[in-house]
């Protein structure tokens, strides 16, 4: 996607020149940032708040394919994926550090594209990019992001605190990122067979965007605060709904009933799954990368969220002995299994 028209060799700049070049446009806006990039470590001040830290690594050929993933989108996504973890603690994200490894043959303009996407995500979510590392890589692009945020202790939401009777809720809709990926993979194969055929992604913007440019759900964290709901447990949907539901149940030592008919699936996701002869429910349960928030709330809080079209109640928490069950549209009950994305398989 990056057209390589203008190429500046990074070796000319050297590591420090490159870091200076990339960081010179960074604006720090967070009052919690005392010192950003440029020293041995960044210095932050969270006063009496608790500090939240999360980290993720994205590797070329495993997590992304540069043949259909524009670098700017990739940068944007790398940040979103990490912020999502802070929001899943019901926290406010404030800073990120970014480490990049790329070939010394990677032109400066490509690194700038990637960085621009990162800074765009930071700007939109009011995040300071406070440091990191750049190095050459002999094989492919390597991205590691650490996100930092804060919360009052009483507001922090863990995975292991769901209670029997709590309602299981999810934000937005599911399965879109996975069906978007199927589409991109198909068009890539067609292109490889015949480079003259233009990719046919018309009318598929939503699910392509779900895959290439996800948005972490800070708006849901804010919305829940506004209506005065503190979830009893929460996790973000990175590996697929089934995997995340099982994390909450296992760590809380509880069971659940999850209703297939309640799982929110966008019509475009539904139709595209059908085109690929995929079960849309399976795409939602096992597809992953939707970066929605899955959370449980007390039944007493139901009235506060029931009219919000961006939150779906998809089931409830039961005692552990009842197991974790998927109740199908036809009314049958199946044991819920995680067939989530596993980077170590295949």
């Amino acid at each position: 996607m990056f057209d390589n028209k203008e190429k500046t060799e990074i070796a000319h700049l050297g590591e420090f020149g490159l870091i200076d070049h990339l960081t010179k446009n960074i604006k720090l806006t967070q009052p919690t940032t005392l010192k950003g990039a440029g020293d041995d470590a960044a210095v932050l001040d969270f006063k009496d708040k608790k500090v939240l830290i999360s980290t993720d690594m994205l590797l070329e050929g495993i997590h992304f394919d540069l043949s259909y993933c524009p670098l700017k989108h990739l940068g944007y996504k790398a940040i979103q994926v990490n912020l999502s973890d802070i929001y899943a603690m019901n926290g406010t994200a404030t800073q990120v550090t970014v480490s990049l490894g790329f070939s010394s043959k990677f032109p400066l303009e490509a690194v700038e594209e990637l960085y621009d996407g990162m800074l765009l995500a930071c700007e939109k979510y009011k995040i300071d990019l406070i440091g990191g590392d750049t190095t050459s890589s002999k094989q492919g692009l390597v991205i590691s992001v650490t996100s930092i945020g804060y919360a009052d202790e009483k507001d922090i939401v863990y995975r292991n605190t769901a209670q029997e009777g709590d309602l299981l809720c999810v934000s937005g809709d599911l399965g879109g990122a996975y069906t978007g990926l199927q589409l991109l993979e198909r068009e890539k194969l067609i292109y490889l067979e015949n480079p003259n055929i233009q990719p046919d992604l018309e009318g598929k913007d939503y699910i392509i965007e779900r895959q290439l440019k996800p948005e972490a759900r800070w708006d849901i964290v804010e919305l829940l605060r506004d209506v005065n709901v503190v979830p009893t447990s929460m996790i973000d949907v990175s590996d697929g709904l089934a995997s995340e539901v099982l994390h909450i149940c296992k760590q809380s030592n509880k069971g659940c009933n999850l209703y297939e008919e309640k799982i929110p699936i966008d019509p475009m996701t539904f139709d595209t799954a059908r085109e690929f002869n995929l079960d849309p429910t399976v795409c939602a349960l096992s597809g992953g990368e939707d970066y929605e928030l899955l959370f449980t709330i007390k039944q007493a809080d139901y009235d506060k969220i029931k009219f919000n079209s961006d939150i779906s109640v998809i089931g409830h928490i039961t005692e552990v002995s009842a197991g974790c069950n998927l109740i199908t549209k036809s009314g049958n009950s199946h044991e819920l299994k995680a067939q989530g994305w596993n980077a170590f398989k295949g």
Copy 2:
């Protein structure tokens, strides 16, 4: 170095199984850690202290060569390299997050070796490993570590605060890690030419250890506290003495005189450099990876450190117009230049 006798396939465990397996032995001992691995983010409590964050990435084929770098040592070094950045701020390091990418063909026992080295470093320096990420890699071993620590605002030491007349000091000795690397590279070449020849590293333990198993200088931070010296500026020596001196001078907008004869070089480093027809001073100035602390102190503090054999006064800070000069043993003055290690060259 890892003998591959017992092999357990990681794909059997899956990502979550692997994380459970690796993290089950982690003991949290830091009072600042409220919640370690196992949720979307770790939760830390630094009360009224400022928070320090630093991150580094190590890539196979760029930063290490598994043909002579044992995995346990590599794990140990990956942690030390990062703690060093927190100490260089005059802070107390408390936590690390670790992201690993490795081939799905990497046996579990190899990952355990690497992790054991990391946990050993953590235990020795009282650091909690509070989270991270593991993924398969098509690109060889990828290690990304973020280190976290704290300090009182008044104790934090930056790079840009050296003052004219300050004494330039360095801990330990320099050039050892680089000459150790030369030795390991030579033995690797000999081995590749004739696998029956045993490596000849006898009597070279110190410099081999400087390369493979460096120790971040927490003891120097403690020592300076004990004698009531707050450095006026500080940085750790990762890229070579010249590069670090220039960072301090450039960021402080000052010059310096650095005296060649004062640069601390261990006799083994000196002799080995000579064996390789290298100038020992150049090894110290440009070799890098020594992870000593370079710092400036007020002249008034000289008496407090002058009898400490682990600290050498190697020069002093001047006004910026005087430039950054290396005064050779013969009394000549040369402009100091950084020819430090540049991952984007060669």
